[in-house]
C-alpha cells in the first residue's frame, strides 16, 4: 500500500470522461449521489457529444460527467476542473480543447493506450502536453483490471474506474456501493455482484497505487434535499402546479422535460400529447385552456418560432397558457444541445402587433420547479400567455435543493361550471383600472360567447372602430402594469452601492454571484442584480442601477463589442437585457455578452469585474486563464 499525501479542499471539480457508450454517466451518478449523501453541496452536468454515435476514440465522442462538489450549496458549474478521470486521451483532449480543465490538473487515465499500435502516439502527445502545462498524470490500467472480472471490459471498466475515483476522493465505500446497487437494482444478482466487485477492485487498486488522496469538505448542515436536472424539475413542477395536459413536439434540449412527464404524468392525473408539429402543439394547449383545463407547451428556439402566431391569438382571446422555452444556441438550428440566452427579445416581440405577455426566467433548478406554479397562476389570473425561459444549462445540469412542501394551494381550483349570472356575461368584462376580466368555461350556462383573434369589444363582438381598438389594446397592456404593481424590487447581491453593477437574468445567476463574492473578497466595489421578471420588468431596477458608477449586463447572447471594426455607439447591437434596460431606464447600461455554447464560469466574470475596475492583479489571483 502506497503512503498517501492528503489534500484537503473546500471544493473540487472532477470529471469522468469516456467514449460515448462506455458508461461514464452511470459511474458518475453513483459518485455524485454518494457525495451528496456524505454531505457535499453539488452541481453536476453531463458532457454529451453532439452526435448520436460519433466515431470512437475521437474528441467528438467525449461523453461523461462533470461534478462540482464541496462545502457549500453549488449554484453553477464552476471554473476549470481539478481532476479528470479519462478512459482515453482523446476524451481528455476534448476537455482541454474546450478549455474546461486547469493547467495543473490531476489526470487519471487508462494506461492501455500506452502500447496501443494506433493510439500510442496521440496518447503520449496528450499526456506530454498535460505535464508540460504543469499537470500530473497517473496511469491506471482500467480496462486491463476490469477484464479480470468481466468478459467484456468495455462494459465494466466504468465501475472499476469508479472505485479508483472514489478512493482518490476518500468517499464512503459502503455508500458508493449502495448507490451502485441501486443503479443496477433491476438487473439481477450476477450483474450487481460483478459491478460491486469491480468497484472494490478499483478501490483496492487506488489503495495500493495512488500517491495521494483528496478530502472535500461537506456542508455544515443536512436538510431533506432533492437532486435532479432542470427539465425534470419543470416536469415535476408542472404536476405540482396542477397541469393536466402537456402538448408538445420533440426538440432538443426541451424534449427531456416531456420525457420525464410522459414517464409519470398518467399516474399523476395528466398526459403528454405529442402533436404533429409545434403549431398543433400550442393550438391543442390553447384549446384545452379555453375549455377550462390548465395546459402547457414546451419547446426550444425553432419551435418557438412556429408558435408565434398562436401566442398572438392567446393574447387576443385572453386564453391562459404557459409556454416553456428551453433556450438553446441560435439563430436557426444553431447549436441544438448548447446553452444560450437569446430568446428574450423573441419572447417579447415574436408575435406581430402589440402582444403583451408575461416572461419569467428561473435562475436555478430549484426555481424550475417553483416557476411552474407561479406561471400557471399568473396565466389564469391575468388570462395571458406566460413564457418561462430556461436553458440548456438548467435543462441538463443537476443540482441539490430543499425538498418542496406540497400544498393544495399550488393546484388550480376544480372547474366551476355554475351558471354565469346575467350581469357578468360579457366575455371580456375588463376592469378599467387593471385590465382583468373573468373567463367563462364551456359548460357554464349563460356564458356562451365567441372569442376571436379579431379586434373585439367587451361583449366579444367583432369591432372595427377606433375606440374599441384603442380600448382593448389598453386593457391588454394594462394587465402588465397591474402585475408590475404587485412585484417586489430585485435585491442586489453584494455591495449596496459602488463602482460596478452586473445585471443578469436566468441561469447565469449562480456563476455571477459567485464571481461577485470572490471579487468583493479582493476588495472590489461590485454587486450583481438578478432579474426574474423580464416582462413586466421588475420595479426598482433603475433605482438600484443609479447607485453604481457603471452598470453592465452579463448575458449569454450576442452583442457587438465596443471597439470592434466599424462598431460605433450609434450602431452597436447590445445584449438583449441591456437593450431593454436602456430603453426603459435610459441608464447607460453596457454589456458583456458571449455565445460560447456553454455556461459562464465564475472566473470569466471575475475577470470582467477586474477589467472594469482596473484590478488586473486581483483577477489573476482568482482566475487561472486569461479570458478573451
Amino acid at each position: 500500500m502506497q503512503e498517501k499525501k492528503r489534500l484537503k479542499v473546500g471544493e473540487h471539480i472532477t470529471e469522468l470522461v469516456s467514449d460515448s457508450g462506455e458508461g461514464a454517466q452511470k459511474a458518475s451518478v453513483a459518485f455524485a449521489k454518494a457525495s451528496a449523501l456524505m454531505g457535499n453541496g453539488l452541481w453536476t452536468v453531463e458532457v454529451i457529444p453532439a452526435e448520436i454515435q460519433p466515431p470512437p476514440h475521437t474528441v467528438g465522442a467525449t461523453s461523461g460527467n462533470r461534478i462540482r462538489f464541496g462545502n457549500k450549496p453549488m449554484t453553477n458549474t464552476g471554473d476549470l476542473a481539478d481532476v479528470v478521470v479519462a478512459f482515453n486521451e482523446m476524451a481528455l483532449k476534448g476537455r482541454m480543447l474546450n478549455n474546461m480543465v486547469k493547467d495543473d490538473m490531476l489526470v487519471l487515465i487508462d494506461s492501455q493506450w500506452a502500447g496501443h499500435p494506433v493510439h500510442k502516439k496521440t496518447y503520449n502527445e496528450v499526456l506530454d502536453e498535460v505535464r508540460r502545462k504543469g499537470g500530473t498524470v497517473i496511469e491506471v490500467p482500467i480496462e486491463k483490471e476490469a477484464a479480470r472480472v468481466v468478459d467484456d471490459p468495455r462494459r465494466g471498466k466504468n465501475m472499476f474506474a469508479l472505485g479508483v475515483w472514489a478512493r482518490l476522493y476518500t468517499r464512503d465505500l459502503e455508500l458508493v456501493k449502495s448507490c451502485v446497487h441501486e443503479l443496477f437494482a433491476k438487473k439481477g444478482q450476477e450483474i450487481i455482484d460483478n459491478n460491486l466487485n469491480l468497484v472494490q477492485r478499483g478501490w483496492d487498486w487506488g489503495e495500493e497505487h495512488l500517491p495521494l488522496e483528496i478530502v472535500v469538505e461537506t456542508l455544515p448542515e443536512l436538510k431533506p434535499m432533492l437532486a435532479m436536472n432542470g427539465n425534470t424539475a419543470i416536469a415535476l413542477g408542472a404536476v405540482a402546479a396542477g397541469f393536466e395536459l402537456c402538448s408538445m413536439y420533440p426538440i432538443t434540449p426541451a424534449t427531456s422535460a416531456s420525457h420525464a412527464l410522459a414517464d409519470f404524468f398518467e399516474d399523476l392525473g395528466g398526459f403528454v400529447h405529442q402533436a404533429e408539429d409545434e403549431i398543433a402543439a400550442i393550438g391543442v394547449a390553447v384549446g384545452a385552456s379555453f375549455a377550462g383545463r390548465t395546459a402547457l407547451t414546451i419547446t426550444s428556439g425553432p419551435g418557438m418560432a412556429l408558435k408565434t402566431e398562436f401566442q398572438g391569438l392567446a393574447v387576443m382571446t385572453e386564453t391562459p397558457l404557459v409556454i416553456v422555452d428551453v433556450q438553446r444556441g441560435g439563430p436557426s438550428t444553431g447549436l441544438p444541445t448548447k446553452i444560450e440566452q437569446s430568446d428574450l427579445l423573441h419572447s417579447l416581440y415574436g408575435a406581430p402587433g402589440d402582444a403583451p405577455k408575461i416572461v419569467i426566467a428561473p435562475a436555478s433548478i430549484e426555481d424550475c420547479f417553483h416557476v411552474m406554479i407561479t406561471a400557471r397562476k399568473l396565466a389564469e389570473d391575468f388570462r395571458i400567455p406566460v413564457i418561462v425561459l430556461t436553458d440548456a444549462n438548467l435543462a441538463t445540469g443537476q443540482q441539490m435543493f430543499d425538498r418542496p412542501r406540497l400544498s393544495t394551494e399550488m393546484l388550480p381550483p376544480p372547474l366551476d361550471l355554475s351558471p354565469v349570472p346575467e350581469e357578468e356575461r360579457n366575455p371580456f368584462d375588463w376592469d378599467e383600472k387593471t385590465g382583468l376580466s373573468r373567463r367563462h368555461i364551456p359548460g357554464q350556462a349563460g356564458g356562451t360567447a365567441v372569442v376571436t383573434g379579431l379586434n373585439h369589444s367587451r361583449d366579444g363582438a367583432v369591432a372595427h372602430d377606433k375606440d374599441s381598438n384603442e380600448h382593448s389594446h389598453t386593457m391588454r397592456s394594462r394587465k402588465l402594469a397591474t402585475l408590475f404593481s404587485t412585484l417586489k424590487a430585485p435585491v442586489p447581491h453584494g455591495a449596496e452601492e459602488g463602482e460596478l453593477l452586473l445585471v443578469c437574468w436566468g441561469s447565469t445567476r449562480g456563476a455571477i454571484e459567485e464571481a461577485v463574492d470572490r471579487m468583493r473578497a479582493q476588495g472590489a466595489s461590485v454587486a450583481s442584480l438578478h432579474i426574474t421578471f423580464l416582462s413586466p420588468l421588475q420595479p426598482g431596477i433603475k433605482a438600484v442601477m443609479q447607485r453604481f458608477r457603471k452598470v453592465m449586463t452579463i448575458e449569454l447572447n450576442y452583442s457587438d463589442k465596443a471597439g470592434d471594426p466599424l462598431i460605433t455607439p450609434d450602431n452597436r447591437r447590445y445584449g438583449q437585457l441591456a437593450m431593454m434596460l436602456r430603453a426603459q431606464t435610459l441608464v447607460d447600461v453596457d454589456c458583456w455578452t458571449r455565445v460560447p455554447g456553454r455556461p459562464l464560469m465564475p472566473m470569466e466574470i471575475a475577470a470582467v469585474i477586474a477589467e472594469e475596475l482596473g484590478m488586473r492583479e486581483a483577477a489573476t489571483s482568482v482566475t487561472q486563464e486569461t479570458v478573451a
Binding site: 449523501l37 441501486e182 435532479m228 392525473g269 402533436a275 375549455a291 393544495t408 356562451t448 379579431l454
Partner: protein, 322 residues
C-alpha cells in the same frame, strides 16, 4: 381514488329545459345574400335542437374565412381561431373536456391548404368531433384566390389565366389516411340531404368529416350549376348510409354503396364524373383518441395527486432506496 372522468363536472346543473331553434341563434349572419353558409347554419341549429343539446355544452371552433365566421352566429361557446388551425384548437378542447361536444368549421383553403397538416393528423387521431368543411372551391374572404379545390383553368386573382393544377380531391386524400372513421359529402343546395348527413355525422363516435359543397354566389356564381340538376352528382344509398329523399333522385342517380367498404369508397371518391353525395366511409369500431388517452390516466382528487407526487419526489430524494 376515483375512476370516473371529471367528477367535478357533475356539479353543473342538469335543469330540464326544452330548447328551441332561437336558443341557438346569436348575431344576424353577415354572409352575402344567397351564400350557402346560411343554410349550413340553419341545418346545424336544427340538429342541435333535434338532439336537444344544451348550447353551453357545445364548443364550435373555426379557422379564418367567410365560413369561419360561423361561431359568431351560433349561440354556443365559440372559438374563432387562426387560418388553418381550427382542428388543433378543437382537438385541445375535446382532449381536455370529453364531456363537451365539439363542432369544427373550416373553409376549403383553411382546411386543405394552410391547414393540411392538421387535417391529415386530426383524421388519424380520430378525436370524437364533427368536422365540416364549407367547400366553395375558392378563397372568398380574401376576395377570390384559387384554393386547392379550384378547378383547373378557374379564373382567380392569383391565377388570372386560369388555375394551373387539377383540383385536389379531398375525398381520396381523406380515405387514404389511416384511422379515417367517417367521411360524407353533401351540398348547400340539398338542405334535406345536408340535415340527414349532419345527423349521421353527429351520431358517429370518432371524427366525422363532412365536406359540404357550398355555393358562393359572389365569387363563384356558376360553379355548381344554376339548378341542383346541373351539377353532375350521384347519391350513395345504403341502409346504414344517409337516407336519400325520393325527390332528389330526379336530379341525379343513386348508387348502392356499403360505407364499410374502403376500396369501393376510394373508387367512388376517385370518380371525377359525378360528385358522390352521402356516406362514403364509416368505421364505427375505431377508438377515439380521447378514449385512448384518458383510458390510461389515473384520475385523482387534489390531495391524492399531491400525495402521489410526493412519493414521486422520493425517487429524487437524497437518501438510499429502502
Amino acid at each position: 381514488m376515483s375512476n370516473s372522468i371529471y367528477d367535478e363536472l357533475l356539479e353543473s346543473e342538469c335543469e330540464i329545459k326544452e330548447y328551441e331553434l332561437e336558443d341557438y341563434e346569436s348575431n344576424t349572419p353577415r354572409w352575402c345574400k344567397g351564400c350557402g353558409d346560411h343554410g349550413i347554419l340553419s341545418s346545424v341549429q336544427r340538429l342541435l335542437r333535434d338532439r336537444q343539446i344544451a348550447p353551453e355544452n357545445v364548443v364550435c371552433v373555426s379557422g379564418i374565412g367567410c365560413s369561419s365566421r360561423f361561431p359568431h352566429y351560433l349561440k354556443t361557446y365559440g372559438f374563432h381561431s387562426l387560418h388553418g388551425r381550427a382542428l388543433t384548437v378543437a382537438t385541445g378542447v375535446k382532449l381536455s373536456r370529453p364531456d363537451i361536444h365539439v363542432l369544427t368549421v373550416m373553409g376549403d383553403g383553411d382546411c386543405f391548404s394552410i391547414g393540411g397538416n392538421h387535417w391529415l393528423h386530426s383524421i388519424r387521431y380520430n378525436t370524437n368531433m364533427t368536422v365540416l368543411v364549407f367547400d366553395n372551391e375558392i378563397y372568398a374572404l380574401t376576395k377570390m384566390q384559387a384554393s386547392p379545390t379550384s378547378r383547373q383553368g378557374q379564373y382567380s386573382n392569383t391565377s388570372p389565366r386560369g388555375a394551373y393544377l387539377d383540383s385536389l380531391n379531398p375525398l381520396t386524400v381523406i380515405l387514404g389516411i389511416t384511422n379515417c372513421s367517417f367521411l360524407a359529402q353533401s351540398a348547400t343546395w340539398l338542405p334535406g340531404h345536408m340535415d340527414a348527413t349532419l345527423q349521421r355525422a353527429w351520431d358517429h363516435k370518432g371524427l366525422s368529416f363532412v365536406r359540404i359543397l357550398q355555393k358562393c354566389p359572389v365569387y363563384m356564381p356558376k360553379n355548381f350549376g344554376e339548378t341542383p340538376g346541373d351539377y353532375p352528382a350521384q347519391f350513395l344509398s345504403h341502409t346504414e348510409g344517409v337516407p336519400v329523399d325520393r325527390g332528389l333522385l330526379r336530379t341525379a342517380p343513386a348508387v348502392e354503396h356499403d360505407p364499410r367498404d374502403i376500396h369501393r369508397a376510394r373508387e367512388i371518391a376517385q370518380d371525377s364524373e359525378r360528385a358522390p353525395f352521402g356516406l362514403l366511409y364509416h368505421n364505427p369500431e375505431l377508438p377515439s383518441y380521447e378514449e385512448l388517452r384518458h383510458g390510461r390516466v389515473t384520475r385523482m382528487a387534489p390531495q391524492e395527486r399531491l400525495d402521489a407526487l410526493d412519493r414521486k419526489l422520493d425517487t429524487f430524494a437524497l437518501k438510499l432506496d429502502d
